[in-house]
Amino acid sequence: MAGYVLQRLLLVIPTVFVISIITFVIIQLPPGDFLTSYIATLESGGQVVDQAQIDALRAQYGLGEPVYVQYWKWVVGVLSGDFGHSFQWKRPVVDLIGERMALTIALSVASLLLVWAISLPIGIYSAVRQYSPGDYFFTFISFVGLGVPNFLFALVLMWWAYSQFGMSVGGLFSPQYADAPWSLAKVLDFLSHLWIPAAVLAIGGIAGLIRIMRANLLDELPKLYVTTARAKGMGETSLVLKYPVRVALNPFVSTIGWTLPGLVSGSIIVSVVLNLPTTGPMLLTALQSQDMYLAGAILLMLSILTVIGTLISDVLLAWLDPRIRFN
């Protein structure tokens, strides 16, 4: 087990390396560098451009030097916790994304837990009572859930709450807590707001996992060991939960690998629609205004988040299934 975990951990290093290259390429793609547009904005605003300051920035980020030098300076900075400077906000990137990143993680984890808590029992029910009205109902619902993009859900939810109750369901905090320092009351307020975006985000994942759980369990149920246990007089509930569900759970865990990237991805658009103080809206404005170090930091952090999620799912899977552990 330890060897397997170590092997997986070692694989993370080249993955993150490649991700950092891709991220850097993406933020370098727009024509012209950000300093040029920064100077242009300053000059159009009638401000005096301090040549010494510009030169210092130019040297700091290696602008004008070959791309690999710029990349190297960026990576070294990131490794020492310096993600560069946001030109739009005129603040270091670290100060900007710290809390937003934490909120993004909280949102993603909350919806992941919601996905599991809802899809597991429904999946088991749908498989055990195959072709029952309940199964048809959940099958239909999950197809709709898979087909409707979650930002549309968010949009309709916003409209519905606004037109019915005249209130906005957006945001993660009540107005009085938005800028307040963290306290117990703020955490409770946060939790009471969190469930709406988490639920919107979870819908697609729930629908997908119900399908997977149902199919897996349906493969296991007709097997002979189930019949044997039943013939020996074992109670149906404990039988299903103890044997076939445990086997069927296997692919369930392995899907964290794609559920989490999906949730992190989806959270961006949903956050924009629901106006959440997460990384989503900030990434969008950073991309639109070519605030490259801010966009790069968010892209990198989101990708690393999914790599960690995949790693956790692999380790969990090895813990659950000895066949993988012993290769």
């Binding site: 993406i26 087909g147 549309l152 794609w258 892209l299």
Partner: protein, 385 residues
């Protein structure tokens, strides 16, 4: 003797629910015909197939199907609610032909909102093939014939309401069908090429090549897709034309969407490699290219078609999301995602909920394509129970 022995088919191979005559044709049917039998039994998939077909027909003839020019502005009908279609007039008389009343607007001086009142003095009957706004079909053939509308040019009928500038939303949605539905197809064709080359090579040769490509695919799959799309789409120069942006968005979508297709192709190629008929062909000394194109490709073509159909809705959603955020197609292009941008403002949606209608179209198209793809996937292997 019975028909069974004449066709030489053992009893066990006959589907239970077929009559004797159909059983004979069933046994002699080609693989594609068997697939059609199996597909047509999937009622929902057939219905969804018809819906998809209709959407593509509409996409081909948008200028004709749309009642108005999608850019024709009419400030007096900004945010006008959907026009009601009547069969019974104000005097309680029934008319077989549906009609609408003209609408007059006036500004409410208390709220400063436009208010619309039906003017019941004149009826305007709806009719098919009316003359209306001029257009050029596919930019080539000038015409002014529209599928339906009102004959009286003064009266305008807004079946799905009007937007901020008083443009007919139905016409705009119909025009959006062309870009929204075709970008899915174009993106899928492109990722199909990447997928079939990578997946085919990986599955056919196996070994180290397979392991390396599998790692690459796993890597691409573990990247969060939407931030990548956003990053790439934001890098498109803002002075590009609609066609250039359309093409670039297609490339972006296919760059990230090819992995699923590659995995399907690889899985099929791996399974086929072990099949007896491939082994037989190899023992007969058939060349590698001939094995791939003459024996392998036809037998996994049906699976590929199903996988392609299931990939189209993902692309449609992706385009909608990008355009909705303002990083995809942009004005003057009309797609469902571009139209949904107007629904970003909560106030205008509360005032004019019909602005969400393009979203409903996305849902209809995506669901129809999903169910169709599901039916095709089940039918792709007609020998499996």
């Amino acid at each position: 003797m019975t028909t069974t022995s004449e066709t030489g088919t053992p009893e066990a191979f006959q589907p239970a629910d077929n009559g004797a005559g159909k059983a004979a044709s069933y046994a002699a049917a080609s693989e594609w015909r068997l697939m059609w039998y199996k597909f047509s039994r999937h009622r929902l998939a057939v219905i969804c197939g018809i819906i998809v077909l209709l959407l593509y027909v509409v996409a081909a003839f948008v200028e004709f199907v749309a009642p108005y020019d999608p850019e024709a502005q009419n400030p007096a009908s900004a945010y006008q609610a959907p026009t009601r279609i009547h069969f019974v007039d104000a005097d309680g008389q029934f008319h077989l032909r549906p009609f609408v009343y003209g609408t007059s607007s006036q500004r409410n001086l208390d709220t400063f909102e436009l208010e619309f009142v039906e003017d019941t003095s004149a009826r305007h009957h709806l009719s098919l093939f009316v003359q209306g706004d001029d257009y050029r079909l596919w930019g080539l053939f000038p015409s002014n014939l529209h599928l339906f509308g009102v004959e009286d040019a003064d009266a305008r009928v807004y079946l799905l309401g009007a937007d901020r500038q008083g443009r007919d939303l139905l016409s705009r949605i119909i025009h959006g069908t062309r870009l929204s539905m075709s970008i899915g197809l174009a993106g899928v064709v492109m990722s199909f090429f990447i997928g079939i080359v990578v997946g085919g090579v990986s599955g056919y040769f196996g070994g180290t090549i397979d392991i390396v490509t599998q790692r690459i695919i796993e890597f691409v799959r573990s990247m969060p897709t939407i931030p990548l799309w956003l990053g790439l789409a934001a890098a498109l120069p803002s002075n590009w034309s609609v066609m250039q942006v359309y093409f670039a968005i297609t490339v972006i979508l296919s760059l990230i969407g090819w992995t699923g297709l590659a995995q399907v192709v690889r899985g099929r190629a791996l399974a086929l490699r072990e099949e007896d008929f491939i082994m037989a062909a190899r023992l007969c000394g058939t060349s590698r290219t001939r094995i791939i194109f003459k024996h392998m490709v036809p037998s996994f073509m049906s699976h590929i078609i199903a996988a392609l159909t299931l990939a189209v809705p993902e692309m449609i959603i992706a385009e909608t999301a990008l355009s909705f955020l303002g990083l995809g197609l942009r004005y003057p292009a009309i797609s469902w995602g571009v139209l949904l941008q107007e629904a970003q403002n909560l106030r205008s949606v509360a005032l004019a909920p019909w602005l969400l209608a393009p979203g409903a179209m996305v849902v209809i198209a995506v669901l129809a394509l999903n169910f169709l793809g599901d039916g095709l996937r089940d039918a792709a292997d007609p020998y499996r129970r």
